[in-house]
Amino acid sequence: MLTAPHLNYALLAPILIVLGGALVGVLAEAFLSKALRAKAQLPIALITLAAAFVQLIRIRNERSIIAAVTSVSIDGAGIFLQGTVLVLAFIGILLIADTDNFTAQASAIPGSTEENLSIQAGKQQSEVFPLTLFAISGMMLFPIATDLITLFVALEVLSLPLYLLAGLSRRRRLLSQEAALKYFLLGAYSSAFFLFGAAFLYGFSGSLSLYGIADAIHGSGGNDLFLLIGLLFLSVGLLFKVGAVPFHSWTPDVYQGAPTPITGFMAACTKVAAFGATLRIFYVAFYAAQWSWKPIIATIAVLTMAFGAIAALAQRDVKRTLAYSSITHAGFLLLGVMALSKSGLSASLFYLVAYGFATLGAFGIVTLVRDSAGEVTDINRWVGLGKKSPLVASAFALFLLSFGGVPLTSGFIGKFSIFSAAYESGNIYLVVVGVLSSAIALFFYLRIVLMMFFAEPTSDTVSVIIPSALTRIAITICAAMTLLLGVFPSFLLDITKTFAGFLS
């Protein structure tokens, strides 16, 4: 007879609340009238996230690896990552709330009569919110999952809604659908790699649990063919999600095609979830096999940092530039994985928060710069923005300086801590490559600042729309956090230090 597994609901509650909220959203979508639906979805999503966060605060000191048999681990880093996902997602939802960015009817073929009719009828898809909530639940599960099946399920739960969301752009729909398809196909490949790796790891260790794999590595000395194959393929799946070179090629296309608020949400939250899981897998399961994977990850980190920075130089599109910049940042974050130390973990956590806020803020601003056909992402048309709307341009400059790691912004503290951790763990050459890539990256960040401030506005019809209150709040929070974490980072550094730990 099969006994039902014991579940510690209190510890799983944050995820369950988000899932519940998503289901309520689906029901609201099905049963509420059109007018009511549009009004109800946003509060449902925000209250859900807030409630989940409150519950997370309540359980912040709990530590358990048997909350759901041995499938998840409630530990410091896990709780911190979940909290980060929730906070960033909350801001992301504020940006997404500007539903003007989303298509009237996703199922209509771009340019068809059907689409025109739905636009005329004033239809507006509001499934965005439940879909986002589903993705968030996956993002919360991914960094705390401790067995390969749960990891895979979480990966799919977070990815599938994102594939859909990427295709919902109101304008330039073909580009958006192309992005969604690319993301889906490549995502499916990477999932397959992940599963393939998982299968080999099971073959090697006879266990699906990260702890079981760690034990098996201890027993075998870590030089087993099955282990190496499994490790390699699992890493491919993960590196795809974080957008590391050479598995990055989807990033620019998807970032460019997806509706900008979704891009911001995806860039910030997926990175947190994916790096959370990557850190856990490498710190917990593969720690003892570090001699096998460190050279590979180091090479990938070098490639990612350098390639992202160099390729960004050639970009003419703001969203693509930000995409390449996110690739570079993935490279810096890999230094945290390489460090394999408490300070490395703590630095990575800080970096993810800092990067998340700056990214959301930057994409939030991209949604504001428009002409009659929608968002303008061509950098050359951003010329002279500093004169037209100094506040928006200054905020964007702040986020760019933070990406570039200029002191007194959060990005600098993040870079400093992660480079310190890398140096401490003896990877000095990675620090040098990181510093050089930062220098290259700075060039294209500064070029945008230069164009915004030091060039006269052309007669072009680009304008900054007056942001909705929610967008304004979101961007303000991001800018404030970017400055605050740059000038007084202690409070967050203390928190990351306290929470930087995986149960093993």
């Binding site: 600098f412 480079f419 310190s420 500064l446 550094l493």
Partner: protein
């Protein structure tokens, strides 16, 4: 709260106040800014009076935890070297405000932004010399670039945007190398029991030779770009050409001194062995800078580029003095920094007025100014004489000290350096002859002479150059104990004459 913190806060609070003044009343903005900067000057002079030159080590120290996780502190303190540089800053800022009364008008942005940026910059310039925590120093060192970037790009002339980004990229690149070195030395201190950024604590570490060399290079290249030393100088002429006279004054007069100051405070103190290893190379670079800057200055057609190249030559002298590692050389170099600050200020400001009046920066457009605008011409002449280190002006004292100090250890370098003086006479006298003497050239007949505001602005600078030339003792006395401390940290002593010589 230490008086140093007050000194940093006053311009910062002032920037806030100015930020809330109405945009339209530009006169009020200027008056308030000058009042604030004069207050800073007064406080800094008060500090200098209270400074006890007999006590070695840092004074007016204050230390507060800033980022405890990395043991980073807001730690400030001054010794004689930092003190004179802070005084240089606080005296130059009101002069720049007064001299460049109309500089802010033609900019991309409002007059208000100009003064807010300058006041923020003043606060940071004081902070960078006062910082005794390496991390704090680094943060200000880098953050300081941002206001300068906007000052050049927003209020300059000609290819200002390109000049601004060139300046920023060079500096940030150097800064990033320094960041790697800062992290390196922090990790070393962590491994030797307790990570710290305190400069005194760090100077007690034992670091093996190869590591020391790398870390030294990280710091040194950043400072050499800042200073600027040949071959890291290429950003300077374009920045000086594009920036307003006031910005150039602060950029070359004060900001670049952070480079040479950093060489003394960090390179020599933290990495004494590496300093000795690299000294021959650096001395060579310094001599090349002296000659290269001087030669190129002779050929310049633009008056601001001319001043920029003379500065490259002068920074060569300063670096030579520092790395000669004798007490005369080091004291001379520090005194040189102060003198160069004032004499460059005099040059840039008078040249700025000339350019403003003539609407051209080309030297050959001037001519006969001596007849048309005698006071302006005399001011420029004295500034030029200070640049060629005429005896009786303060730059002579420092140049002499540097050459004497380096001759005892590096006679060949000192002799080559002396050629720099000859070339200096050449480049200064050529421009004096072309611009000031002879008949007034067409277009110059109707130029107006200095007005009262401009006279008030230039008078203190010339006064300091002359007084410190005849009576350098008070400043030298401030510097000397600090120099002795630096030398003992670096483990060097003055060479003594061999018996029978």
């Amino acid at each position: 709260m230490s008086i140093l913190t007050a000194l940093e806060l006053i311009p910062l609070i002032g920037a806030f106040i100015v930020g809330f003044l109405p945009n339209s009343s530009s006169k009020l903005i200027k008056q308030v800014s000058i009042a604030i900067s004069l207050l800073v000057t007064a406080v800094s002079i008060l500090m200098a009076v209270r400074f006890d030159s007999a006590t070695p080590g840092f004074q007016f120290v204050e230390s507060r935890a800033w980022i405890p996780s990395f043991n980073i502190n807001y730690a400030v303190g001054v010794d004689g070297i930092a003190l004179v540089l802070i005084l240089l800053t606080t005296i130059l800022v009101p002069i720049v405000f007064l001299a460049g009364w109309n500089e802010s008008e033609g900019g991309r942005w409002s007059v208000k932004t100009f003064y807010v940026l300058l006041l923020v910059l003043e606060s940071m310039m004081i902070g960078v010399f006062a910082a005794t925590d390496v991390f704090l120093f680094y943060v200000i060192f880098e953050a300081m670039l941002v206001p300068v970037y906007f000052l050049i790009g927003g209020y300059g002339v000609g290819e200002r945007a390109a000049a601004a980004i060139k300046f920023l990229l060079y500096s940030l690149f150097g800064g990033l190398l320094m960041l790697a070195a800062v992290i390196g030395i922090y990790i070393i201190s962590t491994n030797q029991g307790g990570g710290t950024f305190d400069v005194t604590g760090l100077s007690k570490l034992t670091i093996d030779h190869p590591t020391q060399n790398w870390l030294f290079l990280g710091f040194f290249i950043a400072f050499a770009i800042k200073a600027p030393l040949w071959p890291f100088h290429t950003w300077l002429p374009s920045a000086a050409k594009s920036a307003t006279a006031g910005t150039s004054t602060l950029l070359l007069g004060v900001l670049d001194k952070v480079g040479t100051y950093g060489m003394i405070r960090f390179c020599m103190t933290l990495f004494p062995d590496a300093t000795k290893t690299f000294t021959p190379v650096i001395i060579t670079l310094a001599v090349i800078s002296i000659l290269y800057g001087a030669f190129l200055a002779i050929g310049q057609k633009d008056i601001n580029s001319l001043i920029a190249f003379t500065s490259i030559s002068h920074f060569g002298f300063i670096t030579l003095g520092i790395f000669a590692m004798t007490s005369q050389g080091l004291t001379g170099a520090t005194f040189y920094m102060v003198n160069h600050g004032f004499s460059t200020a005099a040059l840039f400001l008078t040249a700025g007025w000339m350019v403003h009046r003539r609407k051209s920066a080309t030297i050959s457009d001037f001519g006969g100014l001596q007849r048309v605008t005698p006071i302006l011409a005399w001011s420029f002449f004295i500034a030029g004489m200070s640049a060629l280190a005429l005896p009786g002006l303060s730059s002579f004292v420092s140049e002499f000290l540097v050459l004497v100090g380096s001759f005892t250890k590096y006679p060949v370098a000192a002799i080559f350096g002396t050629f720099g003086i000859v070339l200096a006479a050449l480049y200064v006298l050529i421009v004096v002859q072309r611009a000031l003497h002879g008949e007034a050239k067409p277009g110059n007949e109707a130029l107006s002479d200095l007005n009262l505001r401009e006279k008030i602005a230039i008078a203190p600078v010339i006064l300091i150059l002359v007084v410190a030339g005849f009576f350098p003792k008070p400043i030298i006395n401030l510097i000397n104990p600090a120099t002795a401390t630096v030398m003992s940290h670096a483990g060097v002593s003055d060479p003594t004459a061999k018996a029978g010589k």
